[in-house]
Symmetry: C2
Subunit: 379 residues, 2 copies
Amino acid sequence: MKFIIQRDLLLESLQHVMKAISPRVAVPILTGIKIEALPTGIKLTGSDSDISIESFIPKEEDGLVHVEAIETGSIVVQAKYFPEIIRKLPLKTVEISTDEQYQMTIVSGGSEFHLNGQDAMEYPQLPILHTDNSFEVKHDIFKEMIKQTVFAVSTVETRPILTGVNMKIDNGDMTFVATDSHRLASRSIKLDQDFVHIQFDNIVIPGKSLAELNKIIDDTDDTITISVADNQILFQTKNLYFLSRLLDGKYPETDRLIPAESKTSVKVKTKTLLQAIDRASLLAKENRNNVVKLETKENFLQISSNTPEVGQVTEEVVIETIDGESLKISFSAKYMIDALRIVEDEYVMVHFTGAMRPFVLYPENNHDILQLILPVRTY
Amino acid sequence: MKFIIQRDLLLESLQHVMKAISPRVAVPILTGIKIEALPTGIKLTGSDSDISIESFIPKEEDGLVHVEAIETGSIVVQAKYFPEIIRKLPLKTVEISTDEQYQMTIVSGGSEFHLNGQDAMEYPQLPILHTDNSFEVKHDIFKEMIKQTVFAVSTVETRPILTGVNMKIDNGDMTFVATDSHRLASRSIKLDQDFVHIQFDNIVIPGKSLAELNKIIDDTDDTITISVADNQILFQTKNLYFLSRLLDGKYPETDRLIPAESKTSVKVKTKTLLQAIDRASLLAKENRNNVVKLETKENFLQISSNTPEVGQVTEEVVIETIDGESLKISFSAKYMIDALRIVEDEYVMVHFTGAMRPFVLYPENNHDILQLILPVRTY
């Protein structure tokens, strides 16, 4: 194997596949990166068996030459050293070659590395996905969906199914739902007309897979193709192939959690509320749940917290509009901050159904985003 | 106590005194910040007994009003909460007051905090320094001196005196020396004529104190006043008072370590050498000493490293000039990188006195900065 490649392109691809590589993996060869020189370009692969990522650097693209002098072949090299070496090379191009003892030589300017590698035949084959269940969404919309839901997945393994995001598609509407059973985040979009026949209700994608995917795909209006098979999901962009296992089990019915009516509806400035809750939670650092109280007053919300050994705080947030009965409720400041952070509108609507019932938040102008939070009993 | 203050000024002062505060301190009240409202302004104090910092915010400065409506008094509040509260307040000004139960009230916009405090009378008095041994240096020069030496202090407590920087003043020359017995860094400056009578040879300032001081003083040509007493040193700027204990014991004679002559002198580009050694050390991550080899060739330095289980690397660094005999030597890449990082000149001079003797580096145009490194036996 031999090729000369643009260092920055190689580095970018390496950073992508590194997202799938874990130093604590059961199969030792998976701590390495597979590098294949094909007649059409260079393919890199990383995998921890849960997630597998392939990144392709085409020989030429848009009239630009990325890779030269390719002699085909393949090798696996240690992920611990290879990317860092490439990052620090002195020139903009690098020549990479291998010999029959699986030793890789990396040359750039006055710098010459010899790295011990392994036979690429030892690297596990990625499964090939057989499915007709494919559809497309735009990168930027898809990134939004991840960002607006994935933070709400459970981080504890007591109910493994809750560590994933539930993807549902019904009648052309695609919805992501995540919940850790204390709060829930949901986001819907309309799919393109072409995909109105696609239907899923129990696809659960590991939160970690979506978080890593979100770091890799760029924020453009390019198209990402999503294909679903029995226990795997594939995300494909122009030069990227991101395969994740799906979670086993039945995702809970979440629709019935969302209150159909509200008893108190409040409209406030998103940022003002977020900052007031953030401050009110400062003294509550010690207590695990970080609980704050909210009380509706004449024309403001009063948010307060009291930690006797440290002190107390009260915050007033001006109300734009309020409908319904007055209310006292307590909840986790952390959940409320997480929920408010993804609201980009200037105003947020909060709908309460009494002190003991879950309450919901929407951005003022976007009812495709919903955040639900369970209160904490203190009154 | 009561006053209204510009939030950003209070925050800046808090960040200064926080540098002296440690949550793991033997005297519980020292986990707090002392706040004093004086007729002339607000004084903050933080201390861990080794370092004490006072920061003063004058009522008025350069015609600008910083503090209003002062009612004198004092209190100690928890450093864990107070700075974070101030940082997150909604308005640019904040009103602070205390009551007789040592409770502090903080009001800014719709935000109101009550924090439990302690009687400031319980806070230890800072020692008053009696000395005539005072002299002045410019901030920017003093920061350079710290940066160019403090990294070389020992981080292990086996010889406590080596965790400090040795400050010597003789005949108007002030020198900082730091060594961990494997490498040494030294920097000299000429003091102003007024201070030619000042003489010290065994003042040893804890490295940690200088590192913290360097973070606080700004990079201007303002003047810092340094006063030395028996076991303490005081650094004073316009609104800052930084007191540190000195280390006990005799600092070793270091002058005799510096070779008087050299057998091989090399001039190379600083950055090229630094980057080549950084790369050569990549494969040596595993071995504790991070050793690389250097060999003089016809018109380049060859730097190499070999870790059989990982691979090997050779780097070529073009030589500008070379005098003397050819050489093979091994040394710690980390020490060499530390030494080269503080060289700002385009070229660095390296003077070797054989493979087993310490070698020295100077910036090409500044012999007031000297770095010495002990080689490692491998050949």
